[in-house]
């Protein structure tokens, strides 16, 4: 068991920003060395600088749903490599690898459960699964989540974290933006409440569809949120980006999200919003 992660840049950890095994963890934002069990207890938020680490869907499940109230939905959906896509790695190999690494079936998990005794449908994306990318499975799971919330007339909460559409599915991944948005149009017309929570990072196709379509949009502190990724923008315009660009605080200032909510307050904030709007 490693006590520290390697500092030597030549030996990169493959899972850069998720929490690796080890008793100690260095905060990537303030360099403070954190005791892992303490960090876990603090919802993977640095007690020193409040940096919100990227976490697995299990953390949000524990955080948001009342203990024992949850039922997982649509967990039988699996991606398939219908284009026979290969670019360096084969897509089918990537899917198998991501499943092994995360233990998840794809980049989203959907639950029905209760948040402070109020029934909701909760979807949680996982960035560790092929960059949280949206392919046919994510599109279908989100669409079914919307339909289920509509049928049961209960609120829908989606915790987003994604690099965008899943290129390995070609134009079909682009169609998932259309599909989820069309379902949300219907859900909204029928009076359904949808709250989206943007976590680090939410970019590309997910931001440009259900990410930005919440009746209420919340974000975690410091989360990167945007359409184009910062690297692409920098390449296109050939200049450095302003400090804090595309961070949650920037979006709040520009008027694109309602609130920045620390992880520890997320349940309470969601509960109060749902209480007021349903």
């Amino acid at each position: 068991m490693a006590w520290y992660n390697r500092k030597d840049k030549k030996f990169k950890d493959s899972e850069k920003k998720s929490i690796p095994d080890g008793l100690w963890e260095k905060c990537i934002s303030c360099d403070e060395v954190l005791f892992r069990p303490e960090l876990d207890k603090n919802l993977c938020v640095c007690h020193h600088c409040q940096h919100h680490f990227r976490v697995s869907s299990a953390v949000y499940l524990d955080l948001l749903l009342d203990k024992g109230s949850e039922t997982q939905l649509f967990s039988t959906l699996e991606s398939k490599d219908f284009l026979g896509f290969k670019a360096g790695k084969k897509y089918s190999t990537q899917i198998t690898g991501a499943k092994r690494k995360t233990g998840d079936h794809d980049a989203i998990k959907v639950y029905s459960g209760k948040l402070n005794e109020k029934p909701i449908i909760l979807g949680v994306m996982n960035f560790a699964f092929i960059g949280g990318s949206m392919g046919s499975v994510v599109g279908e799971a989100v669409s079914r989540a919307i339909k289920t919330a509509g049928k049961k007339k209960i609120p829908l909460v989606l915790i987003c974290s994604s690099g965008g559409a899943r290129m390995q599915e070609g134009a079909v991944s682009l169609m998932q933006l259309a599909k989820t948005s069309a379902h949300l149009a219907k859900f909204s017309q029928e009076g359904g409440l949808y709250i989206s929570v943007l976590t680090d990072p939410t970019t590309g196709g997910v931001t440009a569809s259900y990410g930005m379509l919440g009746d209420i949009i919340l974000a975690e502190p410091g989360a990167l949120i945007g359409f184009a990724g910062p690297r692409v923008i920098k390449q296109t315009i050939g200049q450095d980006l302003p400090k804090g660009f595309q961070r949650a605080e920037f979006l709040l200032e520009k008027g694109f999200i309602d609130h920045i909510v620390p992880r520890s307050e997320m349940k309470d904030k969601l509960s109060r919003l749902i209480g007021l709007l349903t």
Partner: protein, 319 residues
């Protein structure tokens, strides 16, 4: 603009030039006329040969051909009484997209098209057809106008993507596109989307939700440009031809998958060699499609679109 030849079109240049030279003779002799006819025949055969076996990367290049008709070229002929409508009413007027109303044949329609420029100056003005948030919001304004007055909507897609810039992000590029996806899904008017050149990603989809998705023969539509895909997945933008192969982005592939509903044939040698017949083919296709869509009860469009896009996903479900 001078005629431009892609590398695989080079053999045609020689014959084009020979024909021009012969035709420029004053008082051509019987001999000359015969030779012109012969060379034209040869050119026809050569073009057929070159174009009958294009690979995806060549089709991507054709879609970007600088002599290809752009949105305004189509609009001028399709809609002789076109009135352009400007501005999003919030921030500015985005010249990367042209929108307005007019008659297509007997019908009143609204049309929205992404517009590229022919030269550097024009391209700077049109931003290479890359829309900013105000462009998507202008488009939405015109869509809502069309719905209010019962005009069917035609959208022409021709963009390398939505503009990735600081201002575009500040003004909510993602929000603008997402809003259009949601609102377009629910519009109570028929929508026909046509890819006339490049159809890249959310940039194209932001005006691209539709009931019938048409593609001109030499175009592409994808979640990302072949260069973008190559630089991310192959870590080498030079691998774009391979990426174009993998992405399955040409009309025939997309028709097989079910995304493309109809491929509009282009004249021999591509739309840039005979704009009028390309535009004519499109006009005919749109009018046929509109005639069918007009029979649908406007209240049903949202459900029909949900059903359409629901089918465009491929996954397996374990028992």
């Amino acid at each position: 603009m001078p005629k431009y030849y892609l590398d695989f079109e080079e053999p045609i240049r020689e014959l084009d030039e020979r024909i021009l030279e012969l035709e420029s003779q004053t008082d051509p002799t019987q001999e000359t006329l015969k030779e012109i006819a012969k060379t034209q025949g040869k050119r026809h055969q050569l073009i057929e040969k070159v174009y009958s076996k294009l690979n995806p990367w060549q089709r991507v290049q054709l879609a970007r051909h600088p002599n290809r008709p752009y949105s305004l070229d189509y609009i001028q002929i399709l809609i002789p009484d076109f009135i352009e409508l400007h501005g999003d009413r919030y921030f500015s007027d985005d010249p990367a997209v042209v929108s307005g109303i007019g008659h297509l044949g007997e019908r009143r329609i609204a049309i929205i098209g992404q517009q590229k420029g022919r030269d550097t100056k024009e391209n700077l003005y049109r931003n290479f057809g890359m829309m900013r948030p105000e462009g998507y919001r202008k488009a939405l304004r015109v869509m809502n106008l069309a719905e209010k007055f019962g005009l069917p909507l035609i959208t022409l897609m021709d963009t390398p993507g939505a503009f990735p810039g600081i201002g575009a992000e500040e003004r909510g590029q993602a929000e603008a596109i997402a809003r259009n996806l949601l609102e377009m899904s629910a519009l109570k008017i028929p929508i026909i989307g046509v890819v006339i050149g490049e159809g890249a990603s959310g940039g194209a989809l932001g005006i691209g939700i539709c009931d019938r998705f048409l593609m001109m023969e030499n175009t592409w539509y994808s979640v990302i440009s072949p260069e973008g895909c190559a630089s991310i997945l192959f870590r080498d933008a030079g691998k774009a031809p391979e990426a174009a192969e993998s992405l399955k982005l040409v009309p025939s592939d997309l028709q097989e998958i079910g995304i493309c509903d109809r491929i509009i044939p282009e004249p021999n040698g591509g739309a840039h060699r005979d704009k009028d017949s390309a535009i004519n083919n499109l006009s005919q296709a749109i009018q046929e499609e509109l005639a069918a869509l007009e029979k649908i009860n406007p209240e049903n469009f949202l459900d029909i679109r949900i059903e359409k896009y629901d089918a465009l996903g491929f996954y397996q479900e374990l028992k």
